[in-house]
């Protein structure tokens, strides 16, 4: 199996992000960040949670054939950048048998999936992925 890279407590602390795509919004100026930041561009450190919308548009993508070891059985991976109402997020594009049908600008939605089995004893990591709204 694969060596543990992301410790269990660290994974647990990221659950609001991995499970709910929770970003943060600056209380002073309204800027939204994902992943969350400690300090805003405006200098403020006051944030409130801001769940990102569950639909958006594809911005850029690549079909990755040479994958890290824990993704070997899922290759090729489609890695993309998705725009969720102005906040861009990087992740896998799934449920797409024909990557040639993908193009920047198409509608995508957030789905909740298994990401990988990590560690010798196989802690299962879950998180967000994206899929095209119209079948492809």
């Amino acid at each position: 199996m694969v060596d543990q890279r992301l410790s269990i407590p660290r994974y647990w602390r990221r659950m609001p992000q991995y499970y709910r795509l929770e970003g943060v919004q600056c209380v002073k100026c309204g800027r939204v960040y994902f992943p969350p930041r400690a300090v805003c561009e405006c200098g403020s450190r006051e944030f409130k949670p801001y769940p990102l919308p569950s639909t958006g548009k594809l911005v850029n993508f690549t079909v990755l054939y040479s994958v890290p070891v824990e993704f070997e059985k899922m290759k090729p991976l489609i890695i993309g950048i998705v725009d969720l109402d102005g906040v861009k997020v990087v992740g896998q594009i799934v449920d797409c048998m024909n990557p040639e049908k993908l193009s920047p600008g198409i509608d995508v939605e957030v789905v909740f999936r298994m990401v990988k089995m990590d560690g010798t004893y196989g802690l299962i990591n879950y998180g967000y992925k994206f899929r095209p709204v119209n079948n492809c």
Partner: protein, 267 residues
Amino acid sequence: MINVKLNKALATITDYEYEGFFGVTPAAQAAMAMKEYMIKYGYDYEDLAIWPIKMHERGSKNPLAYMKKQASLKDVLESEVVADPLRLYDVAPAVDGSAAVVLCNKPLKNDAVIRVDGIGVGAYGTYMGQRDSLTELYSVRDATNMALRMAHATTNDVKLVEVHDTYSILGMLALESMGLVRPGETPRLLSTGALDAGNKLVVNAGGGLKSMGFPGGASGMYELALMVMELMNVKPFESLGRAELGIVQDMAGFDLVSTSIVLRRVS
């Protein structure tokens, strides 16, 4: 060949909790930058294949290179896809390697003196989503400006340059972010031979990391040692002519941290 364990190790240079965690590797990042570059400036993959072709050509004349063979357009186009549109020939091979540079403050009279005139570092955030552009490397721009300022030089004074090209697109973006080539012009200039030996600006005379190999953290020292040899006109760089100023650029991750060093021949 690129293997899956190496990919896992390389992925730790991404914003690991939000990129590597989901399978993003440096090759995937470079591939998306390449796509953006191709769309922005209207290039096909065939146009960008000029980088590996030119680097292999230089490497074939460099006895220190790891890849001492020429590559044709056909070789590049028929190589396996690593991360569409990036192909195997766009990737610098991972190698073991070492280089050394001796620094001293009292050179002997008959030594050729290469002086360190300027150094600069730059850093930029890593998460791909928070960038407004994938075709400009901000850490490279900042490091280069800092180094040139310290050397009291401008981009026009630079005659030789060694850029970090672990993926061919990164070499092109580095040249453009440093201000040495106008944005979007690199493939065109390379294909006309305008960046080969004998011109105003010579890029990666030794064949870059593409033909020298990518020894991880030692890559900056590789480039530095090559640049010293280029400025001193020692074998195999006799044909470069007496260039006075060279700049070396190295980068970690995708625009994560960059270093630039300006070297000047003073005797």
